[in-house]
Every structure is written in C-alpha cells, then in structure tokens.
Symmetry: C2
C-alpha cells in the first residue's frame, strides 16, 4: 500500500500547502497527468464541484489530472483506473454513508490495496481505519455501519489535541478516547496532531510532521511516538 | 410530559448541585420515597454501581428512592413503576445502544409520555430528542440506528459553545451544527450552554439557567432565546 494520511488540510500556509512535499513524494512514481479521482462526499456545507476545484487548484503544480468522483459516469471504472484516490475532509458520517450507499466502499478499499496511491485528510484519514469510531465529527447522518476501509490495522484520531475551552464541562479528547479504548481494548488509537500525518509504504508506517503523537491502547498509559518509523505495522 | 433536560451535571458547586432547585421543582408533586430509576448506560469508563451511588448521593436530600436500572431483576416493570426516570451523561452512543439492545428504548419513551418525570443531563438530554444526531460524543459503538426517545420535537446540542482551542483546524461547533442543518433543514437545534436546561411541562418548554441559547434552523441565521418560555412546542 501507498498511503498518505493527514490530520488536516488547512494551515496558515494555505490549503494543503504544508503537505505538498509529502504529497509529491507519495506520487513520485506516477507519470505526469496520471488520472486522479477526488472523493468530495465528506463535504456537507461545501458544494462538491467547488470542493473538487479547490483541491485541484491546491494540487495544480503536481501534474495530477483530478476528476471529482461525483461527476464520474462510471464511478467504479473511474476508481479502478485512478493512479491515486484522494479523499477530503468534512463530515466522516456523510463520507462513509455516501460511499456505502453507492456501493463504492469496497471498490476504494480494493483499489488502495491493489496499488493505487491514497491521499486522505481528516475524514479521509478516518475512512482508512478499521472503523470511523474515533472521528471527532457530529453524527449528522447514519452511515448504516461504522466499519470503514480497513487499510490500517489501527485507528487514527485526527486533529488530536487535549486542549479544552475554558468552562467546558463536556468530555476532554483524552476522556473520549479512554471510552473507546474501554470498549475496544485490543484496538490501538494514534492521536494525530494538527500538521502531522502517516506515511504508509507496504506494511511500514512512519509518523511525519513536526510533532510527537500519542498511542492509546486499552487501559495502558499512552506511549508517545516521535516522528519516524513506528513500531506498529499498517 | 414532565421533563428536565440539563446540559451538564458537574459545576464548581459540586455534582448536580447547580440543578437541585430545578430538580426539586420537577419532583414537587411526587410523594416522599417515590421510586426513582437511574439509567447508568452512558457510563463507559465509570462503573455503573459507582455511577448510581454518585447520583443517589447527590440527590439524597430530595427523598427519592433511587435504584440502578442495571440491577433491576425486571427492568420493564422497574421502569413502569418509576415515578421518575433519571438518565445520566457519558457516551450517548453507548446509552442508546444499551437501551435498544435490551429492548428498553420504547419502554422509557412510553413511561415518560405516560406521566413519569424524566430528568436527563448531557447524553440523557440527547436521548430525549428525535435522534442523537446532535451529540458531541465520539461514536465508540454503533447504536444500530440514531433515532432516540423523541420526547421533544427538536434537537438539543448540550455543552453548547463555539469556543475553540487555539491552533485547532477541525470544525467549530457552529460548523458541525450547520452541517446537521444542511442535511436536516426542517429540524431545529437548540444549543444548550453549560448551566442551562430545558423544563418541559406538557407541550410548554422553558429555557432555564442564566444563559441565552441559540436556535439553529436550516440556513437561517440563528435566533437567540432568553431564559423563559420558548416559542417552540415540545
């Protein structure tokens, strides 16, 4: 597998700008003008054409030829012929529900396992996990099952932070993840801070970006990983 | 109906202490020692016996005789004989999933509609809504459907705030609710700030506590309600 899973898309540098060096490395072996499909279904308040245009513009210098999956006449064939599948952020429940109802969830998983590159951020990174059970998003629609692509063997929590607005009496992020780990003691969760990502090559997983990342497993104290190769397989 | 739906349980005053005057008013017509059942199923990292003891201790001066639903030999009969059903906070997905799998969701709804008082906070307030689609909780388990008790005709977003940790690139609360309102344009959502609650008597709904609360409907600019009777029916 050949995956790049980012926590976030936007930064002070501009849309996807902080990730451009890693995206170039992800697609280094692809020919110029390689067919790329963008999956905009996490967008809810965003029009899918506008979202596709935003991503195509942000990646214009990469030479990829980006088409929105929502405009494909034959979505299965479009996914099967794509050299890279790009899955944007937004609402993870909407993304998963759309792909499941359109019968495309298994197609995306098969293509990514079969060699297509996969670039995801936020909801697109959640989608690559065994389930969407560690998303931060609001459950605005029922995806009819929480199982997802399962490209990774563990869960990601994107936008990881344990910061908390003052006066807030709801759960902290650490409390939410502790609840997940209580119900799912064998499933690790990597907290991916803003600006961080995972680079997956075959079974190797590397943490990229400037920050450390905590790994939560069951009731154990979290382990902190530094950027570089992780000791957990994809 | 006779409901008290709180945003939160804890405050600087202690567990449920800020809500005690409203809880006393809710149960004013019940006889001393009236049977009360506590539903602890939103608790995940919390032991259900401990959670029941915590609530019983916080409400000791009210004279209610509180039993945990998880200890009931006949949960249906226990609910049907309860003068008040108390549903605590924690994880809304776990709460809904437990009640659905045990076949108790419809029983709770029937009892609350039939005259039992209902006290909920956080996840317990989400449960009273048509669905749990406006919870802030992490989807750590699939509740096999997002529909909930439907005691209210609109949604609550508990712990409402639009504050945001610095540097966070994930969605704000207002963005998340805008996503819900885009997919569900006819369903109002009331943002319930910390310290606030809703008091429902029959079809009348009053906002209680010191804060104003915003109501979101579709793409309209949010209306702000002051404490007091609301113009929306239960």
């Amino acid at each position: 597998m050949n995956l790049l899973l980012l926590s976030n898309s936007s930064s002070d540098a501009g849309y996807l700008a902080h990730a451009l060096p890693d995206i170039r490395e992800l697609i280094a072996s692809l020919p110029p003008g390689a067919p790329a499909v963008f999956v905009p279904y996490a967008g809810v308040t965003r029009n899918w054409d506008d979202y596709t245009a935003l991503v195509a513009s942000a990646l214009a210098d990469t030479g990829l030829n980006i088409q929105g999956l929502h405009r494909a006449e034959d979505p299965v064939a479009t996914l099967e012929s794509a050299a890279i599948i790009i899955v944007g952020g937004g609402n993870t429940f909407n993304l998963l529900g759309q792909l499941r109802r359109q019968g495309l969830l298994d197609v995306v998983a098969r293509c990514a396992r079969g060699g297509a590159a996969y670039l995801g951020w936020s909801a697109g990174s959640n989608l690559a996990c065994p389930s969407i059970c560690t998303t931060n998003d609001m459950p605005i629609t029922d995806p009819e099952g929480f199982d997802a692509l399962g490209l990774l063997s563990f869960q990601i929590n994107p936008h990881y932070t344990n910061a908390h607005p003052p006066g807030h009496r709801g759960e902290t992020r650490a409390q939410r993840l502790a609840e997940f780990c209580t119900l799912n003691p064998a499933m690790p969760v990597l907290g991916l801070p803003e600006g961080s990502g995972l680079r997956v090559r075959g079974a190797e997983v590397a943490l990229i970006g400037p920050h450390d990342a905590p790994l939560f497993v069951g009731q154990e104290a979290p382990r902190t990983f530094r950027p570089g190769l992780l000791e957990i397989p994809a």
